[in-house]
């Protein structure tokens, strides 16, 4: 027995010796939806947690990863638990937009900076006393929408039919897109809604067909974005199809097949990485992330995982600055961490470059998206 215990004891002693000066430890809570309806988004996010930086300067970082089962109430419970029991210095998550909206006030009350890898811009806009604590590691809808509208203007499209999910995602897109399009003289001639699990969207498609728009924009995340497009295609619609970055998934190509050929969307450069010029700053970061993820999990990551990875990059940059204000685990540290995150300048992430400011807690500019089209069943860059 002694022979078994001895190396263990020795190892513990050595570890204690070395660990003593660097005992200071940053705790980061991660909440993802690795089960439930949002699991498609949450699983790559959860799988990315082991790739987050384990050491920042002298500080070791501990990640406490919880699952909220896509349920908003569970997200709140998980956040409260992380804040009060684990005394975390920062929070990453949750995966779903409605879930994120529900936890902002708790993160703000406790004064813990929160890095939300969610789609909706509503978590950081309009900026107020509570949202001051929230940072968003995805592109705001308006950056993507602007790219689409610019493309429409360039290709001479005058009228657009809109069909989106009957939830905050579709609603926000309808608002952002309609405003931008009207500004550029493009008319939205039909505005329809449907549900993710609808078995048919024939009615909505007919309404759009009757309005005869030059192009149709479908706003839905994941595989749900396919049904309106295939229905319109089957009914003989001949115009151009646009999709949001929510459709940027392998399943879109798989489910849509020939019927989604030629669709235009604006999304993360991760989809067309081999085609990107080496001069693009994000190419290396994204390539490294994908390689590391593949080595760990044996499959390619969806872009959602990269949003959590970027949160790690943001922390890596901000923690050393915050350390000057106080020890991890204190109020001073957390508040300084928030200030440091807000001052992030020219940080290259997997999907673009972050320039945070007091007003902009998402920080992406045009380098955060690329115009992409579907060609021969693959994503290709629009030249």
């Amino acid at each position: 027995m002694l022979s078994k215990k001895l190396p263990l004891a020795a190892a513990a002693a050595v570890a204690a010796l070395f660990a003593l000066p660097a005992l200071a430890q940053v705790k980061v809570g991660v909440v993802t939806s690795s089960t439930g309806p949002t699991a498609l988004v949450g699983i790559p996010q959860k799988n990315t947690v082991p790739l987050l930086p384990k050491k920042i300067g002298d500080l070791t970082v501990e990640y406490i990863s919880l699952d909220d089962a896509s349920d908003s109430t569970n997200s709140v419970t998980a956040f409260k638990k992380l804040i009060s029991e684990q005394n975390v210095d920062a929070l990453i998550g949750p995966s779903g937009s409605p879930n994120a909206m529900g936890v902002i006030q708790f993160a703000a009350e406790a004064g813990v900076p929160m890095l939300a890898p969610v789609g909706t811009a509503a978590v950081v806009l309009p900026m107020n006393e509570q949202k001051k604590w929230v940072f968003k590691t995805t592109q705001n809808d308006d950056i993507i929408a602007r790219a689409l509208v610019d493309h429409m203007v360039k290709t001479g499209i005058k009228t657009v039919g809109f069909i989106g999910l009957n939830d905050p995602y579709g609603e926000n897109w309808s608002k952002v897109f309609t405003a931008l399009a009207t500004e550029k003289g493009i008319k939205v001639t039909a505005n329809e809604r449907y549900l993710r699990f609808d078995s048919s969207v024939t009615g909505q498609a007919l309404k759009i067909l009757a309005a005869k728009p030059d192009a149709v924009l479908v706003a839905a995340p994941g595989a749900a974005s396919v049904l309106p497009q295939t229905t319109l295609f089957d009914q003989g619609y001949k115009g151009k199809f646009y999709q949001t970055h929510g459709a940027a998934l392998p399943d879109f190509l798989k489910l849509g097949g020939k019927k989604v050929e030629g669709t235009v969307l604006a999304a993360s450069l991760m989809l067309v990485l081999p085609e990107m010029p080496d001069s693009n700053p994000s190419k290396k970061v994204a390539t490294d992330y994908i390689a590391a993820y593949e080595k760990l999990n044996g499959s390619k990551p969806a872009t959602f995982g990269a949003n959590v990875y970027d949160a790690g990059l943001l922390l890596e940059k901000a923690v050393p600055l915050a350390e000057k204000a106080g020890k991890p685990g204190t109020k001073e540290f957390r508040s300084a961490l928030r200030d440091a995150l807000e001052q992030t300048k020219e940080l290259v992430g997997t999907q673009g470059v972050y320039n945070m400011s007091a007003a902009d807690h998402s920080g992406f500019d045009d380098r955060g998206r690329e115009l992409i089209t579907v060609k021969d069943g693959n994503w290709t860059l629009v030249k």
């Binding site: 009957n166 449907y194 609808d198 078995s199 048919s200 024939t202 909505q204 007919l206 049904l227 399943d251």
Partner: protein, 346 residues
């Protein structure tokens, strides 16, 4: 809105309504025979569709392990029941067969070149895999509490539904899937094109409804089930086993659900959790039939499909609200029409 649009919407509504009608009938059937409001009915639709999609993609189906797990649990329950009531020698082979069956299906799924099989064989495999789960669910979750109150049965139904949705996520993943259509042709009928898959749905639904009608009206087993539905105690005195009635009903319910799933999988994208909404609309149809009348339930379900199609054209954002609000006038009308009955037996 012109005649052509109305025709297309009508076709769409009837196609979906046919599926809702099937589900309404099986919800009604299960309720009358066993007093269980079978909420997991929708899961059979999703499992059927997703299993078919997985087979077409050539991926071995993880669901077979769930079938095996249920079979083992069932065998264990049977053995315990046997130990408590010794003296019957036969029955052991039956328990063994229960366990061997999923293993045979698993072997088939892992050995056969799934993706290359003709579609009829793929559909048959799907049925062989999913349908036995119906009787299994009854044996494991409902049979032990068969005499409990309707409320307890409903709570168990909700629990089974939630568990199955979770297991579906585990087996099929979060993303949706769709399958190849039975046939590619489309039929020009006057001003509109009719998708041949829609014809398949309506035809198969109609055939199933007629077969069920014949089964209940003509066959001995069907009559026995109806008797059990009408009066459980009386049926039992006549030698109709309520356990048999329960298992048979759940078998039929699972069969109808799985067939519905295979039918709609080529039309729409199915997700692991989309069964619930489909069966809920079937449920609205069943409510219109007052949870007693089969023809009224079927007609109600078709009405639900039509209302859904037309409201998706006129007010797409409020479609679900319109469909589910339909239940209020129906309930009102029913409560005005029926006389209040004092708490009967029980």
């Amino acid at each position: 809105m012109n005649a052509q649009i109305a025709l297309i919407l009508g076709q769409d509504g009837i196609t979906n309504g046919a599926i809702y009608a099937l589900l309404a009938l099986s919800i009604l059937l299960v309720f009358t025979v066993t007093r269980v409001l079978f909420i997991p009915q929708g899961e059979f639709v999703a499992f059927g569709a997703l299993t078919m999609a997985a087979i077409q993609a050539g991926r071995p189906v993880l669901l077979v392990w769930l079938l095996l797990a249920f079979a083992l649990a069932e065998a264990a329950a049977d053995l315990i029941a046997r130990a408590k009531r010794p003296g019957r020698a036969r029955g052991l082979w039956r328990i063994a067969a229960k366990v061997i069956y999923p293993l045979v299906i698993a072997a088939l799924l892992y050995k056969l070149p799934l993706a290359q099989l003709p579609m009829a064989v793929q559909a048959l495999l799907t049925l062989l895999l999913v349908v036995p789960m119906g009787p299994q669910l009854y044996r494991l979750f409902y049979q032990p509490i068969a005499s409990a109150s309707t409320l307890v049965l409903l709570i168990v139904s909700i629990a089974v539904h939630l568990a199955l949705v979770g297991l579906g996520l585990l087996a099929f993943g979060a993303e949706g899937a769709r399958t190849a259509p039975f046939s590619d042709a489309s039929l020009a009928l006057g001003p509109i094109n009719i998708n041949s898959q829609a014809l398949w749905v309506v035809a198969v639904s109609a055939v199933l409804i007629v077969v069920l009608y014949q089964f209940f009206e003509r066959s001995m087993y069907g009559k026995a089930l109806r008797a059990a539905a009408f009066n459980r105690l009386g049926a039992r005195l006549m030698g109709i086993s309520p356990i048999f009635a329960g298992r048979a009903t759940f078998f039929l319910a699972a069969l109808i659900g799985t067939v519905s799933g295979i039918l709609i999988a080529p039309i729409t994208t199915m997700y692991f959790d989309s069964g619930f909404m489909v069966s809920l609309k079937g449920f609205v149809g069943a409510i219109i039939g007052g949870l007693v009348s089969y023809p009224l339930a079927a007609a109600g379900a078709i009405l639900v499909g039509l209302i859904e199609a037309f409201s998706s054209f006129w007010a797409s954002a409020y479609k679900e609200i319109i469909v589910f609000t339909l239940i209020i006038p129906v309930l009102l009308w029913r409560s005005l029409k029926s006389h209040h009955v004092e708490e009967e037996d029980e």
